[in-house]
């Protein structure tokens, strides 16, 4: 387990422990969040309860993604496996940064749309977050749609991310999946990848 702080030395075999904990914690929170959101919009029975869960969970994700982002920029990450094509590496890099973008944008648009519609942003009974936008039908319309479209996109991205990760874990078996787990198996860097250090 390498907690490399200096980029000069060899790339680490694993993401640092903070990244790994945040990854799996946020993965479960985000999947929960997507289904809580869908339930809120459809359920005859559970909407008030789900809404009371959706807001604090969303704010928690917002705080965690900020910590995760700082951590990501502060520490070196493992290289992509040697066998990966340059297309795959680039796609992975783009998807990873897009996931960060979504994790930030979804809580913010949620908070903003509640503000634009004049709703309280209720964390707990009696504890509300301040409004971050003035009331405006135009802003509400735009943010409400953006929140929905991005939530659906995030779901597809998460599904794609999971499928790709399982492909690496079960089919390629190149150690990429292990870099975000606690497994000893490390990335196969026996051959120098043509893409070089894929994510930098």
């Amino acid at each position: 387990m390498a907690k490399t702080k200096n980029i000069s030395s060899a790339p680490p075999t694993h993401f640092n422990i903070t990244a790994r904990i945040l990854h799996w914690l946020m993965a479960s929170m985000i999947i929960t969040m997507i289904f809580v959101g869908l339930g809120m919009m459809t359920s005859l029975t559970w909407r008030p309860w789900l809404l009371d869960l959706h807001i604090p969970l969303g704010i928690a994700i917002l705080l965690l993604v900020i910590i995760r982002f700082i951590n990501r920029l502060s520490f070196a990450v493992p290289n992509m496996p040697a066998g990966m094509s340059s297309f795959q590496s680039k796609a992975a890099v783009i998807l990873h940064w897009a996931l960060y973008g979504m994790m930030l944008a979804l809580p913010l648009t949620g908070w903003a749309q509640l503000s634009a519609a004049g709703f309280l942003v209720k964390l707990f009974p009696g504890m509300n977050l301040p409004s971050i936008l003035p009331q405006s039908p135009f802003l509400f319309a735009w943010l409400h749609d953006a929140h929905k479209v991005m939530a659906w996109m995030l779901f597809l991205m998460v599904t794609g991310h999971l499928s790709a990760a399982l492909l690496h874990a079960w089919v390629y078996r190149d150690g990429l999946f292990s870099s975000i787990t606690w497994s000893r198996k490390t990335i196969d860097r026996s051959e120098q990848s043509p893409a070089g250090g894929a994510e930098s």
């Binding site: 869908l38 919009m41 709703f119 309280l120 509400f140 492909l167």
Partner: protein, 366 residues
Amino acid sequence: MKKASLVAYLKTKRVLFKLVGIFLIASGLVLAFAWSAGLIGGRITTRTFLKDTPKTYLAGYRRAHGKGICFEGTFRASGKGVPFSIARVFAQQKVPVTGRFSLGSPDPYAPDNSTRTVSMALMLTADDGEQWRMKLNNEPYFATRDTEGFLEQVEAYKPVSNTGAPDPARVAAFLKKHPEAQKYVKWDATAPWTRSFAGAQYNVINSFILIDANGKKQVIRWSMRPHAEFTSWSVRQRKQASHDFLFEDLKKRLEKGPLYWDLVLTLAEPGDPVNDPSQVWPENRRQIVAGTLEVSHVFDQTKGGCRDINFDPTRVPKGITLSDDPVLAARAGIYSHSHSDRVREIGYGKATDAVGKHQKDNAGNK
């Protein structure tokens, strides 16, 4: 080189089996998503309740109770609610109120004698920032015990094309399945229609729970009981009434001075049907006047104000919480769709009438 060895490797490791596994996991997730979103499976969702909204619906109007007028007023707490709930509204001297009177018809241009249902919706904002939103009707109870029953009622009472009246067989089948609705049907057929918004009593219908300083819970319902006298009219008078009689009457009364309603809390006792909005509680239940609502003036909903507010009755302040009344929970999701649909229409500039912009003006601007 790498590729050739990879292919050999894939063959030995039963890759197809693994790929199918990954595909099944991903499609399982997608199916779960689609079902949760109501896209597959045909389950009843809160969207189902808006499916009858006509395609030609006037953009920017509420999907139900389209015709209405905004009001502003003040709620003055009596202090008698304080022992039962920590909500600030029960203690605060003057709480500002934004609200709306409306007619039960979905049509924003319905004549005022076309329905017996009138409503009061309001939002109280206490000085601790907490909001209390409510939506009250002049009906004394809900027709059915649950939300699905409401859909069945709508279906059963749809006019048949050859007679223009509901099919008696379907109505009978509905009443057999929902015997509790007979009470409502009888009330609807016999109770006098109100001749004024001012003299009507508005009832919350659903149950809520008050929470006191020690966390003790008390199930309640409430009503806005008018200070003005209830007035009705004969069928002949009603049929001859002018198109906007009720709204004109309200404006005229308010020119003379404010109108008042007492907020009356009715306390349930153990064993009362607290999760069934179609059942009333016994007459002798204790009642408390928690305060008085003063409605000081009204203004056109096209000017904003109440227009874009979702009077979702599940948005209650700290010190009040929701009962497990199934109709109450369902209203949250249904109101949310109606609200986001119409505010989107206004936000994207599709609404004309609803924001006081006439088609003519639009054409002139082009």
